[in-house]
Point group: D2
């Protein structure tokens, strides 16, 4: 990740434990999402191929690619919010560029803009095979910042 | 489904077995996607809530919602193509409107337009609880028609 | 417009003059946008073809179609807000389905959802020629409600 | 424009006159779109502020921003196609990030992917004031390559 391009979004970082907590539940946990990096305005999340994550042709399912991109966008945006706040997805759009036929996916998100309660992030998703990686999907997500309900703090 | 509004897209229907085959593999099978209806230009696909399909707050994960919408769009478009052709997703966009906190999701897709090799479908996704259902997401997907590779026929 | 399908969004209507004021300035005025109908959660805006509104092939320019859809979405959402509030566009997505080669465009917007400060509208844009009309574009817009600055009230 | 990052899309360049021709007609001509740069997979198009191009608050109208982004995407994609082919817009999505309140807009497009007849481009749109520029919109466009009809060659 290119740290020098990171927009300074917020001095007040969320506890890194929030990103871990987001990732440790439900679908992201069951699918095996792995946080590679998280900092204000940036996140990288990876996922190894499994037979229960593919579509008809044996490539990663578009919904799984979207889930990974969404998770990376959410962590990038949330990492830039004050403690006690979380970004939830208002809408997401994904272009599928190449078959996601690698052994691993990596989603790299960066926040384009955070102002008021609205954040926008772009995510590049790469399909990896050993040393090479191919841009297989490009995503833009609009997020809304919420106060974390007390039971989740 | 409102059959009277169905645009006559193609007299040549895909074998219904193609929709079943699409759904019987990988993520859609593992998650438990269930085809409720499929006809040229229309499809309805349902999914029961499970703990491995939710996000941080315990609602259906946005990526799972997108996967279901994508599947319904793909079946609606593919059902309108000549035998031996299949629709693959070029891009998808989803607005999340309400928390998907029901016990079941239902995605209802219809083809807006199919011309040349490009099809566009909209999908309404409802979160269901007993008798009531709430529109929780709205999706538009652009599909491209391909010849099914011989090994999938 | 099908009034019976209109979601009751807000009892407090904006002064109808706001929709007229939005439309009477800048590009929408110069291009000749015409408000056909506006009520809470619904709007219809029309535009006659002119040589300065087309693209390379002589059809309405995609940006002009988007501008008309955006205006209709903004008026549908704003009409459902309390007086003194206005909807501004967070993001917009448009699928172009058919050449917009008619003598007039009509954009029909409806609000899918308005909650908190976020509204989502879909817009169907039709290309008209005498009696017939063709769905030429489909749009989804996400809006954010703002207080009107004092100088605009 | 960062030439070193340009993907080599095609050795066969369209005559540069096609980009000029696209821009010299209809809305883009009337609004005053100005091609700053065009090469295979890249384009930059600028537009000076005028009172007939703004919205209610006096900033560039969202539809005008979209038109400029669309034009830049079309020129980037078309410049990478073999002679006699042109890219037309299948769908476009735009996030509006900041008020476009500058004296000029600049749209910078790059092709992410061109394969078969489908191309995808991203466009950054900047609002400029003297020396400074602000990213005011981010766009993704899906294009389809067509043979230019004989009357346009």
């Amino acid at each position: 990740m290119q740290r020098e391009q990171t927009t300074a979004l917020s001095a007040a970082l969320n506890p890194p434990s929030l990103a871990a907590a987001i990732n440790a539940k439900g679908f992201s946990h069951a699918a095996g999402f792995r946080i590679v990096a998280a900092e204000p305005g940036r996140a990288e999340v990876a996922l190894a191929r499994r037979e229960d994550l593919v579509q008809f042709f044996g490539h990663f399912h578009g919904g799984v690619i979207t889930a990974l991109a969404d998770q990376a966008a959410g962590i990038a945006v949330t990492s830039g919010l004050p403690a006690g706040r979380i970004g939830v997805t208002v809408e997401i759009k994904v272009n599928f560029l190449e078959p996601a036929d690698g052994s691993e996916l990596v989603a790299r998100a960066k926040t384009l803009k955070m102002s008021g309660s609205i954040g926008v992030a772009t995510v590049e998703v790469f399909s990896k095979n050993e040393a090479s990686e191919t841009l297989c999907a490009f995503c833009t997500a609009t997020m809304r910042a919420l106060d974390l309900p007390p039971e989740f703090r």
